[in-house]
Symmetry: C2
């Protein structure tokens, strides 16, 4: 954790692989044993340390190959830059022929203060103040809640005094007297220190540096005796174990250790999980309501009734027989569990739930932003991505040589630069267009693969049904294989699409890292969304809807009939499709065995280096957002989805936590105010879910036909006769030649068979046309969609409008903090002034000294004026 | 325009009426002639001027009545406060027994600089820089455009050099060297000066001051010789005349003269008007398309065809006769003008147009914000409204005496304050609830009045039709009277509602002026909206839809049949309703005759005082937004609405301009970044218009039935037979007793009459039930609504997403300006430092002097640090 002088803290580690071809001669080894470290500190900076280091290495240097040599030079250049920036470096000498070498970086106080001032990092001042927690009643209630939830609170020191808050103010070297600096080594916490160092590295070209890895260090071991506590151990004990799954997350500690970005992710995940609790409860109630009313459900009773048996038309040509509807009794009863009036209420509830969730997230984000002192932070200056600049240069060189030449000839005129930019714009719009076309092609590809699976199902079903032996379990076989194929295809496409999205976004050459990330996420999400949901959409809205009718079936690739839903209706099938979805497949990799077990007391950097690299939060967010989609989009067809998601997430939180604490290298602390584009995606899903739920209820479920029957066709206002009403008649003699069941085993003589549709009977003049019932039910379905969609959208807007984005207490606190800060500031200024005055008076005053002090105060004034400018211009500028 | 010393500019005027009961004695008049003015300047401040003024007035003072006395005291107190703040006052002595008296205020340089620094007003620095206008091509194109549009440009000096922009920086007294201060009298423009003074007045309690009026002065006359140009005259010549209706508005000059708030209103109005041009053109094309295809329209040809005459059922009981459909030929042809397939395209276009308009407004707002240096301005500190504080106090005193007592006994403990706030919250939520209930009652009232008008129409129609003489023009009479009643009701309700909205909002007791205004606007808008649109909604969606069918009509108040639409369909009636709407009734008041014509050379304050007081922008915005509603909401039924709105607005702009320049007192310049809640209202209307247009096309127009007929029922794919298809048969013998036409004059024997509906014919088993056609057409209508709504919503989101809110060039300029500013700043600092150093060196240095300079520089440093804090905390704070 420290340099070898045991004094200077290691804030950051650079690791690289090196290889020495000429290291066969062992003549350098004795010198290594004497001086195993080349500590190059800032104090000895200038030409000397480099020369010394160079000299030391010269001894080692055999004939390295060109690449390795180049890399080495880049590394050294890079390290020189770091040292020039004032950082202190310590590195092991390369004493093996190849392996990993570490450069440890320490940021001394002057670098920390300089950069903290530059980055306007808010640090606590001496002033503390009490946070009001509402009125007396609210306070008592809060205390009561606190006491009740005590077993759920993680045992983390931060939580003990959350009544007081330090007033924070952006760090400034001129105002050190404001801050409560007890120990210069601990004033900036580790995340801030490593952030400062990592900013330094960004300043210079970082791709070229041969195979370097940058990593901030973990704070020691996560296992070990309780008495020697560090933050990592604390996190492991109170957060990253399954044993503490019932506890709240120590968000402040997570933020302290991993930085704001990861802190926000876990805060979001926590809020989402806790929001799943009420929806789970209501989902279970809806399900139980279904269970309780299953015996009273007239349609399923009628279906199961053996007395008034309905003879159904065969489900496939030739090989299928007539069948009795009562055989589908089981699925009918099962589908009642999910398809009952309570479901409609539940999907309205879930649409509002999604809005509430998003609103509450905004509030929580504001609250965290306040407590984490992010309220004043400004957008970081956007650096152009190096790829962008390279691309610009390349394209220009290739396509516009004449222009470049012209540019070089008269660089003074600004017009050329302008037309240079013009051509850039043209080039980029072309590459953008190209990328967007490719993107559409990939979306189309996904659809066609889904379509392919459907065709496979149809053809296989037909092929298998020709074989008499397999006929009985054709459906099961086809469904099973299709589901497996689907799954495999999804998994493969997921992998491909990750790469494709990256590639496409690279083609677009977005200008900054942030736009790059956002575009990548959006593309990856859309592809993943189509991939994950299209089979479900197929079952929900298309399957069994375009089959035609007996005697006039729709055939694809002449001879193959379109798929029909199982006799219980498509909803049950949709349900089956949805059950496994909230549980995400998770390939939990075992932590890699540490390579450096050979040394008895491995250094922290050796341990950390052996961990998995951190790969960003995108996969974690993506997974959760796809799950959010399942929970909201199809809640009407599967009310238990929230429960399943809840169960999954309780584990997921700890799994992710464990991964971050124990399995991956410590990521750079990234300061961010919000979760970025994920919020937009969530809110998009929320909006989309309204229309999808409307359609599921209206089209997939039997809710509307039942209502229509009950109020328009039923004789006594009950659902008696509903099943009969939904079945149309077909005259068996009109079956096309060659499609009749071969050797029917059906026990009765069949004159008319029934099929599920609203069509005119065979004895009507316009036989088999859609009947009036069909159109009236369709009207009712569509009217329901319109009403549902607009009602829910209106309610969502209302909820959005009624819940303020900034919690009342937080906005009050922010105001209060501001006025407190002014008071505090003026007081401190005043005291300083008095101090100076008295000092002035006590000394008679030498001209030399007074001049010095005048110059200093002027410099100070000019600097603070500059600071004043930069902050007033409301965005970060490199001064 | 100046004080009587002809040196100090009048920045603001206070006016009040006074009345002197005891002014009968004329002994004071001679002294007046000698000293007609009591100039109280800042220089003579302190005790003396007050004493002197008091003394001077003492001579005049007879026995004033109590109220007048109190007012006088308040005025004097107020004036004292103003003088203490450093302002210089000049006032006429009250030499008449009653009348208006003016107190003229001049803000001297030190007040201006102090307040400009405090308000962080951005002022131009010495540094100029060129604004890039895109690439060479874009530049050339822009120049070309500029040249082409030269006749349209207003002749205003600002427009000549819009290639350069001064770098601006918030004013600071320590950095005077940064700014280009040539003349201290003109450095701050008049709007800024009066803003600064008006801020002063806000600081103190301003209600109590007996009947005072505050007004900034106009800049001289608007008429007069061209050579003596002032801004007001310029505005009048280049903007506020009908003669220049074709010109662009001189927005920068408007902003300079009236301030940002009014500038934004006119910029918005201008953008809206220019956006109406393309939609007008397309609207006219749609209309012309209707005209061109009128001869090819088969349904109207069939209707007009005398050969296959359809005998229609009577439109009212007893007194109406059977009639021939061909008599409705005219309206059928007319309605084709508006109801053709192009309309569907047009309403999609208009929905996207609304989105485009809003997006472009956001961009224009950003652009103006950049050029007007509003980019960095922070929200003004929100002052509590005095009414709010009074209310709080009253309520507490009345209802919570015990609590107040407790508060007073132990004021030190903060708990009490908290529970005090608690009770406030409870009280306010009650009053909020009360207000919201009242609000709903008023909305309901509007609906009931609309309903009352409908009932009136029905009953009058029936009553009139009993009278044989009037029978023939029953419809015309009823419609005419109903429209008049509607109009009267609307006008009356508008007045009432303005007051009601104000009252309701007062009941709610919002905390700040801004929330007060926003709530008031929202309420007023909703009431006005319901008031203005409900008759139209009635015609569009309800009229003629619930009439029942022949033989089974729906009756209200037994005996009165529901209204039916005219034979041409409801669309034509809707159209007629809409035609006058884009033109708003405007009661143009003649400018009031100036009272002070008696004096030959009236002072500017006399002239200004005689003008109408400025009453805010709310009525102007409201009018335009209601018009925007008509343009977007019902565009499907009246494609000419944009043209009419355009014609209206071209006049409206100049009318408003004239009003502001010539008829009302100059308003306080208000600095604001955006148009506030109006934007939300506009975007709400835009969203609402999508669903309304969908319903108008689907339900009110014949578009869907025609499509359905053409593709499902027509034998040859044309519309031949469509009319016949839409008419149902009715067996005349089934007419209820007493409802048959009395002494029918119809030339044929009638067995069956026809009516417009899809019902089963008399010979069907289920006669007069809705037929299959009815349900299939209904399904098609509803499906259309769903598709249209979701498609247009999706496209709007896409448009919103694709157009960036901040124009590219502006965001580039802002970045560039920032870096330029830093450079400029550093350079200036450096030069200052060098200057100081050399000064240092040239003088040997006396201790006394150096100490002084040190103290000064320290003061400076401490002050600028404070400034630095205040600006970094991203919101305005009173330091």
């Amino acid at each position: 954790m420290h340099f070898h002088d045991n004094r200077r803290k290691v804030d950051y580690v650079l690791a690289y692989h090196y290889r020495k071809r000429g290291a066969h001669g062992g003549h350098g080894s004795p010198s290594h044993q004497r001086a195993p470290l080349a500590v190059i500190s800032n104090g000895e900076m200038g030409k000397e340390p480099n020369a010394a280091g160079q000299g030391d290495m010269m001894i080692e240097m055999g004939p390295l190959d060109a690449l390795e040599e180049e890399r080495k030079e880049q590394r050294e250049e890079f390290e020189r830059n770091l040292m020039e920036a004032g950082l202190e470096l310590e590195k092991d000498l390369e004493n093996k022929s190849q392996g990993s070498s570490f450069v440890r970086i320490h940021a001394p106080w002057q670098v920390l203060t300089r950069e903290a001032e530059f980055l306007k990092i808010k640090v606590p001042t001496k002033k503390m103040y009490e946070i009001k927690s509402g009125g007396t009643i609210a306070k008592k209630f809060n205390e009561f809640l606190q006491k009740m939830s005590y077993p759920l609170q993680p045992r983390v020191p931060e939580h003990s005094n959350n009544k007081m808050k330090n007033l924070s103010y952006p760090f400034s070297r001129e105002k050190l007297y404001l801050y409560n600096i007890q120990d210069k080594d601990t004033f900036f916490d580790n995340a801030t220190r490593s952030r400062i160092v990592s900013k330094q590295k960004c300043g210079w070209q970082m791709n070229g540096v041969g195979g370097e890895l940058f990593l901030p260090l973990h704070q020691g071991e996560y296992e070990g005796p309780e008495d020697d506590m560090n933050d990592r151990k604390l996190l492991y004990h109170e957060w990253a174990r399954y044993g503490v799954f019932y506890k709240f997350q120590p968000i402040d500690l997570i933020r302290k250790y991993f930085g704001e970005k990861i802190g926000l992710y876990f805060a979001w995940l926590g809020l989402y999980t806790s929001f799943l609790i009420p929806s789970s409860i209501i989902g279970v109630i809806v399900f139980l309501y279904g269970c309780a009313t299953i015996e009273d459900d007239i349609p399923s009773k009628e279906m199961c009734d053996q007395q008034n048996a309905f003879t159904m038309c065969p489900l496939c040509d030739k090989s299928c027989d007539y069948w009795n509807l009562s055989t589908a009794c089981g699925t009918a009863r099962a589908s009642h569990l999910f398809d009952n009036p309570a479901t409609v209420f539940f999907s309205v509830f879930m649409a509002l739930w999604a809005t509430m969730f998003l609103e509450n997230w905004k509030r929580l984000q504001m609250r965290l932003g306040y407590f984490w002192d992010l309220t004043g932070i400004e957008e970081e200056e956007e650096h152009s991505r190096p790829e962008y600049e390279t691309k610009v240069r390349e394209k220009i060189l290739k396509e516009n040589k004449s222009l470049v030449q012209k540019m070089e000839t008269d660089k003074t005129e600004s017009d050329d630069e302008v037309s240079f930019l013009d051509s850039l714009v043209i080039i980029f719009s072309f590459s953008l267009l190209f990328a967007s076309i490719l993107f559409k092609i990939f979306i189309a590809l996904t659809f066609s693969i889904v379509f392919g699976v459907i065709v496979y199902r149809i053809t296989t079903a037909a092929a298998l049904s020709l074989n008499k032996a397999t006929r009985s379990n054709v459906r099961a076989t086809v469904t099973a294989t299709a589901v497996i194929i689907n799954l495999v295809v999804i998994l493969i496409l997921d992998e491909i699409y990750g790469a494709v999205a990256k590639w496409l976004t690279k083609i677009e050459v977005p200008k900054t890292e942030q736009t790059f990330e956002e575009r990548l996420i959006l593309k990856a999400f859309l592809l993943k969304f189509v991939n994950a949901y299209s089979p479900i959409f197929y079952v929900a809205f298309f399957k069994g809807r375009f089959v035609g009718r007996p005697g006039n079936y729709v055939y694809v690739f002449d001879g193959y009939r379109m798929e029909e839903c199982a006799p219980g209706g498509c909803l049950m099938e949709l349900c089956i499709q949805l059950i496994p979805q909230p549980f995400q497949l998770k390939d939990e990799t075992e932590p890699g065995e540490t390579d450096s077990t050979q040394s008895k007391h491995p250094e922290q950097w050796d341990l950390d280096y052996s961990l998995e690299p951190y790969t960003g939060l995108t996969p974690e967010y993506m997974e959760m957002i796809i799950q959010f989609g399942f929970v909201t989009l199809f809640v009407a067809s599967f009310p238990l989805a929230p429960v399943f998601a809840l169960l999954n997430n309780v584990i997921e939180v700890r799994l992710d936590a464990k991964k971050f604490v124990t399995e991956v290298r410590r990521p750079d602390a990234v300061r961010t105010k919000d979760i970025g584009i994920w919020f937009d995606i969530l809110s998009g899903i929320g909006k989309f879910s309204v229309i999808i739920n409307a359609f599921v209820i209206a089209v997939t479920s039997d809710f509307i036909p039942r209502l229509v029957y009950q109020y328009s066709y039923s004789h006594n206002g009950t659902l008696h006769g509903f099943i009969n009403h939904t079945l149309s008649y077909f005259n068996v003699s009109q079956l096309k030649e060659g499609t009749q069941p071969e050797n029917s085993h059906f026990d009765q003589e069949v004159l008319f068979c029934r099929f599920k549709d609203y069509r005119e009977p065979p004895w009507a003049p316009n036989q088999y046309e859609f009947s009036k019932q069909y159109w009236s039910v369709l009207s009712a379905r569509l009217a329901f969609v319109i009403i549902f969609q607009n009602l829910v959208m209106f309610l969502s807007v209302l909820v959005d409008w009624m819940i303020p984005d900034i919690p009342k207490d937080i906005s009050d606190q922010i105001k209060k903090e501001k006025s407190l800060l002014v008071d505090f500031f003026l007081k401190e200024e005043h005291e300083k002034l008095k101090l100076m005055d008295s000092a002035q008076r006590s000394q008679s005053g030498g001209e030399e000294r007074s001049r010095k002090s005048r110059a200093a105060s002027f410099r100070q004034s000019s600097r603070s004026q500059r600071g004043s400018y930069a902050s007033s211009s409301s965005q970060h500028t490199d001064v």
